[in-house]
Amino acid sequence: MSNLSWQRTPLLTIGFFIAKEVRDLVRNITNLLPALAAIVVTDKLWIPYAVGGAYLTYIVVRAILNQRFFLYALAEDAIHIRSGIFGKTNLTLKYERIQQAEIDQSWYFRPFSLVTLRVDSAGSAGKEVEIPGLTIALAHQLRQRMLAESTMPQEVEIEVSAPPSHTKTVSFPIGEVFRAGLIDNKIFVIFAVLMYPITQGSFFEDTVIPWFNEQLSFIQDSALLSISIVVVTLAVILFLAIGLTMLRYYGLELTVADQRYQARMGLFTIRTLSFRYEKLQRVLFQQNIRSRLLRRYSARVNQLQPVAQSQQVEGGAFVLPVLTHEQLAQLCDWLGIPPRHELTWHKIHFIALLNPSFWVGLTAPAIALVCYFNEVSASLSLIVGAGSWLVLQTYTVAWWHCYRFTLTQGWLAKRQGVLGRRETWYPLYKAQQITVYQSPWLRLLGYANLVIHSAAGTEVIKYQPYETAVALQAEWIQRIGTDTRRWM
């Protein structure tokens, strides 16, 4: 410990620490809302400015102090970090425990050729460690060392179906990135952000609407004009949404070399995510309606995901947002996932339809009754009730039909979704716990759900005959328990 050479990050990284404070503020904004409301409501005009100014000063002072007190040291096998202004933290992170490394060339660091190194560790505290202001060369060298460190036991990690080990690169042209923008769901996020100020407070109603009425009273006269305004607004939002995704994934490039997976992306901020194959805990292939129409897939690879993080690391996950069918097959091949044409997907027993059908059966008369008592004619009520029953029941059957699972070459996979598709793959030997679960209803039928807790999320396989479920549990547990391969 004594021979560590502690280093301070460059002065420029104050900008990074300010950005971090702002990010924390945005993340915690919901907690601050009551205080904000109190500030806005007050009639003393200087208060909001005073609070805002004080907060700005606080952020800047804190960022400067944070930068002053942030020290890191790189040892042979670990990073050491000292941070904190009053409460000091001393963190040691072993390279071999690192799940994923990310090099962020933030736009505000790029002119200075500096990067931020971000690594996820496997501790239960789920600490994400960030070192800002490294030179590119040092960051790359460091990442190399981290990812290399974890290869130590060479012979055990090679799987039966080990992916090939020479370098392969897949680039995604701008057209594909545009498709990714179409597929991505950011439009709803933007909507939410835009709608939020509109629904909050009286400012909008008191000021904006009267102003609009005054300026644009002629709009109300023309239906065509108001419709086109709405259409243009929507188009602008859509454009913004696609643009955001394109900024993020611009120039996306996947490199696979020697069991190391790396994705590089971004226009202003260039992010480079990488992980080692052995850290893989889950692979998720998704298709929403748009991507099904465009015949594309998105893939996400998860590593060990500590509880504390599972909700908010979405941004840091290893995601390939748009893949053609061939690219998907190629990725499966690299990841050692069995090829699609060799798979036999198992359905679950049709008794699984009983419970949802019962509730659907209850809904239909309820809808009919609600219609009837709201002065809809009896025949129309019947038609609406029957129609909604038909739709819901068809959906239920389709859901059951699409619900499949498979167990192939040590992988457990589940596929579901009627309109969108979702396919999750788990290396079974890395599972953490297997549960057989029976509600009173399932017990009555003699069935059970199998719950697989992996290090990157939980998967349920519904409606297995109780005996089968228990046998599968015993078999899998025995298999996991006797598997001496490294699992993280």
Partner: protein
């Protein structure tokens, strides 16, 4: 695979009954406070309409539910795993492979200490629900199992096992 299911201590039932009683008393206090503070609320039902279901629920929970729960709760040890049966109506059988256990903990709440009970928690790296907690053990038993587990885990044939 034949498993030898080990029942938990009978006093676990007493523990469950005490927990039920305390919860129900808190619920009753909350309701009584509402009735005392807002006598003018017309839509509140007559006290009996709440009192009788409360009493029935308390009795069911204290006698039927806790008995059933005690009856079903059991743990077992296979060569590779620890298994736990738990629940009364919603039953689950959990199994944790020994080589996935991160750490082991013996815990004792205030009520448990009163009854000389403890529970043993096996932590894994899985998502939130993936920890296994064996309730209703005697403190000494829990310690014994813990030590035995730790020994077994330490002796595992792999050098890749992680101890966080």
């Amino acid at each position: 695979m034949n498993l030898l299911w080990q029942a938990v201590e009978p006093s676990y039932k007493t523990y469950l009954q005490l927990v039920v009683l305390i919860d129900m008393v808190f619920l009753a206090i909350a309701v009584i406070v509402i009735y005392a503070l807002f006598p003018e609320w017309q839509w509140l039902p007559a006290p009996l309409w709440i009192g009788i279901p409360w009493a029935v629920l308390t009795l069911i929970m204290a006698f039927i539910w806790s008995a059933r729960r005690l009856q079903f709760t059991a743990y077992a040890r296979s060569p590779e795993a620890v298994l736990l049966r738990r629940g009364a109506l919603w039953q689950s059988t959990r199994a944790v492979p020994l080589n996935r256990i991160q750490h082991v903990e013996v815990r004792q709440g205030a009520l448990e200490r009163l009854l000389g009970l403890a529970h043993l928690v096996l932590y894994t790296a899985g998502s939130s629900g993936a920890d296994l907690s064996i309730p209703g053990l005697q403190l000494a038993t829990a310690e014994t199992i813990k030590n035995e587990l730790i020994l077994t885990i330490a002796k595992e044939p792999t050098e890749q096992e992680s101890h966080e």
